[in-house]
């Protein structure tokens, strides 16, 4: 069997990736797998690249009209000049503005790669402040509180209410400090 990457050498590194229930067999030559080394932490891009080539929804679903596809292909990022067509081909963005420029077409891609998710819930840079965290937490707590009320667990709902009040006070203090 030939290496999937270079199509030149015999494949000797075999592994399977299953993401979102989709199985993908990888067959690479040693050189392509990691430049003749042993398993390499640093070289993860290769497998992801292969993964990416199968990631774009347009390639799978033919129900999009030809016209729609062509119009999407020609969208261009103002920031770096990358077109959507080029993005699909290389699987990489050219700048942070690409995320805005192609936004109408990205969520299906993110869903495929990130198990159905399209929104970040992790770390936030300090300069954007803990505020964002707190606002989010308040929203989440309010939902939880409503659920507890629906379940008639008023004791827990009261606890959550106190935590929300506490967070709101903190937010108020933060703003006071800035003023």
């Amino acid at each position: 069997m030939l290496c999937q990457n270079c199509q030149e050498r015999e494949a000797s590194v075999h592994y399977t990736q299953v993401v979102n229930g989709q199985k993908k067999e990888m067959h690479l030559c040693e050189q392509c797998a990691q430049g003749e080394g042993y398993m390499d932490f640093a070289n993860e891009n290769l497998s992801l690249h292969h993964f990416l080539t199968n990631m774009f929804p347009f390639d799978q679903t033919k129900d999009q009209s030809q016209q729609q596809m062509t119009s999407a292909q020609t969208i261009k990022c103002e920031g770096c000049g990358l077109t959507y067509h080029e993005f699909r081909h290389q699987g990489k963005f050219g700048c942070s503005q690409c995320y805005e420029a192609f936004s109408d077409y990205l969520d299906p891609i993110f869903k495929r790669v990130h198990s159905g998710n399209t929104e970040h819930v992790g770390k936030i840079p300090k300069r954007l402040g803990g505020n964002l965290h707190k606002h989010r937490e308040i929203n989440q707590l309010q939902e939880q509180m409503q659920q507890k009320i629906n379940e008639e667990d008023f004791e827990e709902a009261a606890n959550i209410r106190d935590r929300i009040r506490h967070l709101k006070e903190e937010l108020h203090d933060d703003h006071g400090g800035e003023a």
């Binding site: 042993y38 995320y99 990130h114 198990s115 819930v121």
Partner: protein
């Protein structure tokens, strides 16, 4: 260079510390992908902006220290010989990809080589942190601190909805890739990895085994890492990986016991044959070396081989790769010559143990 000096050169200082579950987990790595605000990604191919990023990082971080990470040294690809680059790749301090960006690529390495930051790889910054053995939460904590330190003097490309913006859609969000390198000889021998790997994959984790058919790995080395970076917090990503890794460790321990009970003498035979090959062969390919090293390491962990240090697997895995072999030989080697040199080096390394 004496062999001992050479080994000291090959083994990063942090590798000498024994981490948690180090009989099974060789190392833990945390990687954070970050880009600077309003600068095209390196993938855009815009040289002048990459140069600016490099200059900025050099100015702000070269020769700087941060807490446990002393004296970061900037190594520019433009000033680095091919064989030196190869050595940095084999030490996992940078990727082969970076080695190819000879114009503006660079890597910032802490003195103990536990932290390295690739500059102008696929993203502007790739912060990497290693821990010996299993140390996911410790490594994440340290990586987050390093990330904060970088953030003090740079502005990251960040979007409230999508998180940290990266050049590849597979990294967006947290930009976090957490990986654990595991030695699983008993699970491999008993064919359980072929069953377990797809199960682990279903949980959104990626298992990679190298050198072998299917999901079997000849060196019995596997890397387990997270696939998802969007829609999960860093802590949750780490926790999910940790719980799977703990189960795998438990299964490996049980399998080792089971194999010892069921076919102890066959296992012992296999281990000592491999030891014999390493100690006496004159020509050895990297694959055979990987298999034998795995067997010998298992022998050490099971207490069957007593006079050899545990770190030999980690050490010889690095030492016997082409870049290091050529670094040691001080000349470029043809593939056939490498096998001969590899056998020599392994024999010499084993002899060091006798003293």
């Amino acid at each position: 260079m004496s062999l001992q000096d050479f080994i000291n050169d090959a083994i990063s200082p942090w590798m000498n510390d024994e981490g948690q579950d180090s009989d099974i987990v060789l190392s833990t790595r945390i990687r954070l992908a970050r880009n600077l605000e309003q600068v095209p990604f390196p993938t855009s191919g815009d040289q002048s902006s990459q140069e600016k990023v490099l200059q900025h990082i050099e100015q702000e971080f070269n020769n700087q220290s941060y807490e446990d990470f002393k004296k970061f040294q900037l190594v520019k690809m433009a000033d680095t010989e091919p064989v030196e680059k190869r050595v940095l790749v084999e030490k996992h301090l940078m990727s082969p990809n970076l080695a190819e960006n000879s114009q503006t690529g660079a890597v910032l390495i802490s003195e103990n080589e536990q932290a390295s930051v690739m500059i102008n790889e696929e993203d502007h910054l790739r912060i990497q942190l290693y821990y010996p053995g299993l140390g996911l939460s410790e490594a994440l904590q340290q990586a987050q601190k390093l990330d904060d330190w970088f953030e003090e003097r740079t502005r990251y490309a960040f979007n409230e909805e999508k998180g940290y913006l990266t050049s590849c859609p597979t990294n967006v969000g947290t930009g976090l890739r957490a990986s654990v390198m595991m030695h699983l000889p008993a699970l491999t021998m008993t064919n359980q990895m072929t069953r377990m790997a797809p199960e682990i994959n279903k949980l959104g984790l990626v298992v990679r085994g190298i050198y072998g058919e299917g999901s079997e790995a000849l060196g019995a080395l596997y890397q387990i890492s997270n696939q998802m970076t969007l829609g999960k917090s860093e802590e949750d990503i780490i926790q999910d990986l940790q719980s799977v890794v703990s189960q795998v460790i438990e299964s490996e321990r049980q399998s080792r016991e089971w194999v010892m009970q069921q076919s102890g003498i066959q296992l012992e035979d296999r281990i000592f044959r491999s030891y014999g090959v390493l100690a006496h062969s004159r020509i050895i390919e990297s694959k055979e070396a990987a298999k034998c090293l795995s067997d010998v390491r298992l022998g050490i962990d099971l207490g069957l081989i007593k006079n050899i240090s545990k770190t030999i697997l980690n050490e010889l895995m690095v030492l016997t790769q082409p870049g290091f072999l050529q670094h040691y030989a001080k000349k470029s080697l043809q593939p056939g010559e490498r096998d001969w040199f590899r056998a020599n080096l392994i024999r010499e390394r084993l002899q060091l143990e006798q003293y």
